[in-house]
């Protein structure tokens, strides 16, 4: 009986070692893979100060783990029941006030240090004054997509946020005003900053200050309903020139292409216009994304699919094939109408 137990114990330890090896290998593999959502790869001021604080907190908790863990292992090995001990009870010790006091005071000191470091970063991020050069965008969360409004530029777009890069010498941080049209959502682009919720009936604010151009990925972090998982988010940080070019293109009225009048008629004659807007047409719905410059976006369905004519066709015909449970209804159009509609949408540059 005793031998069996020991062999199980030995096998258990072997398996545990294997588990750790396996885990470490997986971590190493994922750390070397270029990933765009790693919180330890910050590209913006608040994300950077959070990483610095995280490392500080990790080091302190790591030291505590090693110290207490070592103590625990030592106690288990040192004071295990040995065959020679049988029958005798060890010395009965009831406690010690000095020791209790020591291991109360040390944690108190650690807490004080951690709190001061934390409070400093909370203050630096939350109470940062808004500079005059700040760039402003209003973010409105919808089930299950993002609406971006640029009040000063008169631009309304969806799912892909464009902002100018901020030069550390003359910072132009972007201040986001966060609103929700329906349920709670949360704006999270790990490389740019921590998340802040979009709560209906409430105005929240957060700021980011990216120092590098590129596309940064994120997604909704607060459960908001059926398609919470595919409420993806892209932030394109552009050079000032690229950003101006993009903004000018967004401000232009769409060209009226006579070749696609058929598709435009399909759009205007169906329920599409109840939810979508296209400037210069009868469509002025607000439940779905503004489509005026649809083709300037790289994805559709809040990042669930590439913006290709083929995907547009699938999306219009059966939205559930791309995003089951999304609020876009299947319009039951015939092939001819779908083709015409997609040709029309393709002109919305």
């Amino acid at each position: 009986m005793r031998r069996t137990n020991n062999s199980i114990t030995a096998r258990g330890f072997q398996m545990l070692a294997l588990v750790f090896w396996f885990t470490v290998a997986a971590v190493a593999q994922s750390a070397t893979r270029p990933t765009n959502t790693n919180i330890f790869a910050p590209e913006s001021t608040p994300a950077k100060s959070i990483v610095d604080l995280s490392i500080f907190v990790l080091v302190i908790t790591g030291i505590i783990f090693v110290a207490v863990g070592t103590l625990l292992v030592y106690v288990i090995v040192k004071f295990r029941d040995k065959a020679t001990d049988t029958g005798r009870e060890p010395a009965q010790v009831y406690g010690s006030n000095q020791i209790e006091l020591a291991w109360t005071v040390i944690p108190v000191l650690i807490v004080v240090v951690l709190f001061l470091a934390t409070a400093r970063v909370i203050h630096a991020i939350q109470d940062a004054p808004k500079p005059a050069s700040a760039f402003e965008v209003t973010v409105i969360g919808h089930q299950f997509w993002w609406e971006f409004r640029y009040p000063k530029l008169g631009i309304v777009t969806a799912n892909e946020l464009h902002i100018p890069v901020s030069d550390p010498a003359h910072p132009t941080p972007t201040f986001l005003k966060l609103l929700s049209a329906d349920t709670d959502h949360s704006f999270w682009v790990p490389q740019l900053g921590g998340k802040t919720d979009l709560v209906p009936n409430r105005v929240n604010e957060m700021w980011i200050d990216p120092h590098r151009t590129g596309v940064f990925l994120g997604q909704c972090a607060q459960y908001c309903g059926v398609q919470h998982a595919k409420m993806l988010l892209r932030v394109s940080v552009d050079t000032p020139e690229d950003f101006d070019a993009w903004a000018r293109a967004q401000q232009k009225a769409p060209t009226d292409d006579a070749a696609v009048t058929a598709g435009r008629r399909v759009f205007e004659a169906t329920a599409c216009i109840n939810c979508h807007s296209i400037s210069g047409t009868a469509a002025n719905g607000h439940f779905g994304p503004d489509l005026t410059h649809l083709m300037s976006r790289r994805t559709i369905a809040s990042g669930a699919a590439e913006n290709t004519p083929e995907n547009l066709r699938v999306w219009i015909r059966t939205p559930d094939a791309i995003k089951p449970g999304s609020l876009m209804p299947a319009m039951n159009l015939n092939d001819q109408d779908v083709d015409a509609l997609v040709r029309y949408l393709e002109t919305l540059q």
């Binding site: 258990g12 990933t35 908790t61 625990l72 807490v111 970063v121 921590g194 604010e205 972090a221």
Partner: protein, 558 residues
């Protein structure tokens, strides 16, 4: 030793009676031991159900863009898994152990209010049935969904009529309301029992720590469940009587619901973990062959946790846009909980120091508890730093953290308690061999799942998503997490098999198989219906030590 005991009614005598009579006895029982067993069996049943829901989710998340289940089903699964495990697995389990053990350990013949006790159990049982009836009845006349899919927090306005039509979330609301009344009844009962039913000589400072900690837990239940029940009633008013407490479309507040929910939700964590501390405080001394180190400090630290944990709730809300002062306040209160909790860990280590540690299955689970609770506490400290939490909140890091608490600490402690007290309840030992298989499989599965699960969180994976995009470094990690989940499920099957096999085949336990020191080991296994033939009189915290060592009794040092 067994021969001095009061005669135990043996199995054949019981089975001579018609089964309908036996069933009637169990359904109408007011005996604290039978109710305790009912609670525990009820919790075990839901452990399996909640586990199946977890496995369904893990299969779905094994690879990106998997379509094992639809998003609707996945959302129901995580809602039901969370609600089930918190309210219908851990809560009944800890109440069951408290019910069974507290009267035995304080030398009482039953709980203070036996009929309230039965009433509370059946309310809790009805709550669980209501929750699961939603699979059939949730569609109501609307044909919209079945089981609730609003998450176990049911954040407003997702649970409002506009976003949750049909009756699915009503079943959730009413189920928690009903079982909440059951919990309040049990809490009142535990408080009254501990304060009024102690045997002669058992002063408050001589009570076993298990009784003390359950007293504190019961007090917290009263403070935690009340706001939850109030919020549930307000939600029902919103949904059926045109109220606007949480109805944001009519000027209600989503944040108000969050406050109500977490003012319940955080103390709830301690309601669940304090009984786990209680098990540890009984098991670790016995298998280290030493009394608990610093008994008064252990009690004081637990009372302290009870108070401080009432002021930390909004650390669940660091991302909702509170101002910097509120965020700082909840950061420091949360960090402060680490102080009494740390003291407890040190005291358990102090108990083991200088002892003769016996690695029986209950102690193996207890040692794993110590390691895992240490890690869970430290990841908690990491997240208490509000700016760090702005990144980690709502990510898989949080999911890993609280499963480390609930599985790594609470479930491990519950397993330790099973191996430790099963012989008392059933009269037979659980198999040590199967116990060790259970332990090692569970430890390996646990670490494979929950160690790994922290990393996708750090890599930006949010929780509650039914699928994820490939190429973000989450794929392999999620696969490992799922494999670990399956290993844990196998370990639980080994455990259930052990319970069933040992019921018939286990070695006879006798009164006191572990050579322990508290009163429950002085009576036969299983204990007679009236517990004690004559009410015992105690003179120290370890009455059986005094009995076994008349030359060196504890009473001399207290």
């Amino acid at each position: 030793m067994a021969s001095d005991a009061i005669a135990i009614p043996s199995l054949p005598v019981v089975s001579d009676r018609p089964w309908i009579q036996t069933l009637h006895d169990w359904l109408t029982t007011v005996d604290h031991k039978r109710l305790g067993i009912l609670y525990v069996l009820y919790g075990l049943f839901f452990l399996v159900i909640g586990g199946i829901e977890a496995i369904i989710m893990r299969i779905q998340l094994m690879r990106p863009h998997n379509d094992f289940v639809s998003p609707q089903v996945f959302n129901r699964m995580f809602t039901m898994h969370g609600t089930t495990m918190i309210f219908f697995m851990v809560m009944p389990m800890v109440f069951g152990f408290a019910n069974y053990l507290v009267p035995l350990m304080i030398g009482a013949r039953d709980m203070a209010f036996p009929r309230l006790n039965a009433f509370s159990f059946w309310l809790t049982a009805l709550g669980g049935l209501l929750l699961y009836f939603s699979f059939l009845g949730g569609s109501g006349l609307y044909g919209a969904g079945n089981a609730p899919d609003v998450g176990w927090w049911a954040y407003a306005p997702l649970a409002a009529r506009a976003f949750s039509p049909g009756h699915s979330s009503d079943y959730w609301t009413i189920s928690l309301l009903v079982s909440g009344f059951g919990s309040i009844g049990t809490a009142i009962n535990i408080i009254a029992t501990v304060l009024c039913m102690r045997c002669p000589g058992m002063k408050l400072n001589r009570m076993p720590l298990l009784a003390w900690l359950n007293l504190i837990m019961a007090g917290m239940v009263l403070f935690a469940i009340t706001p939850l029940s109030a919020a549930q009633l307000m939600l029902l008013v919103d949904r059926y009587l045109g109220g606007h407490f949480f109805d944001t479309q009519a000027g209600g507040s989503a944040v108000l619901w969050m406050h109500f929910f977490w003012i319940f939700g955080h103390p709830e964590v301690y309601v669940l973990v304090i009984p786990a501390f209680a098990f540890m405080s009984e098991i670790i001394p016995v298998f280290s062959r030493k009394p608990i180190f610093g008994y008064p400090v252990m009690v004081a630290a637990t009372v302290c946790i009870g108070f401080v944990s009432m002021s930390v709730w909004a650390h669940h809300m660091f991302t909702v846009g509170m101002n910097s002062y509120a965020n700082s306040f909840f950061a420091i209160t949360t960090m402060a909980v680490g102080i009494p909790t740390g003291i407890k860990i040190f005291n358990w280590i102090g108990t083991m120091w200088g002892g003769r540690i016996q690695f029986k299955t209950p102690m193996l689970f207890s040692i794993a508890f110590l390691f895992q609770f240490l890690v869970a506490g430290l990841t908690g400290i990491i997240q208490s730093s509000a700016p760090v939490d702005w990144q980690l909140s709502l990510s898989y890091f949080v999911v890993a953290h609280f499963h480390y608490v609930i599985v790594g600490a609470i479930v491990f402690a519950i397993f330790a308690a099973f191996y430790y007290w099963y012989p008392k309840v059933i009269g037979r030992m659980l198999s040590e061999k199967l116990g060790k298989w259970h332990f090692w499989l569970f430890v390996i599965g646990f670490h494979l799942t929950f160690d790994t699960m922290h990393i996708p969180g750090l890599l930006g994976m949010p929780r509650r998503i039914y699928t994820y995009e490939p190429g973000r470094g989450w794929d392999t990690l999620n696969f490992i997490v799922s494999i670990g989940g399956i290993i844990q499920a196998i370990a639980v099957l080994v455990f259930v098999a052990n319970m069933i096999i040992s019921y018939w085949k286990g070695a006879k336990a006798g009164n006191d198989p572990w050579d322990a020191w508290t009163l429950e080991w002085s009576v036969s296994s299983p204990p007679p219906a009236y517990n004690f033939a004559s009410i015992p009189v105690v003179e120290s915290r370890r009455p059986l030590w005094d009995l076994k060592h008349p030359e060196d009794p504890d009473s001399r040092y207290e």
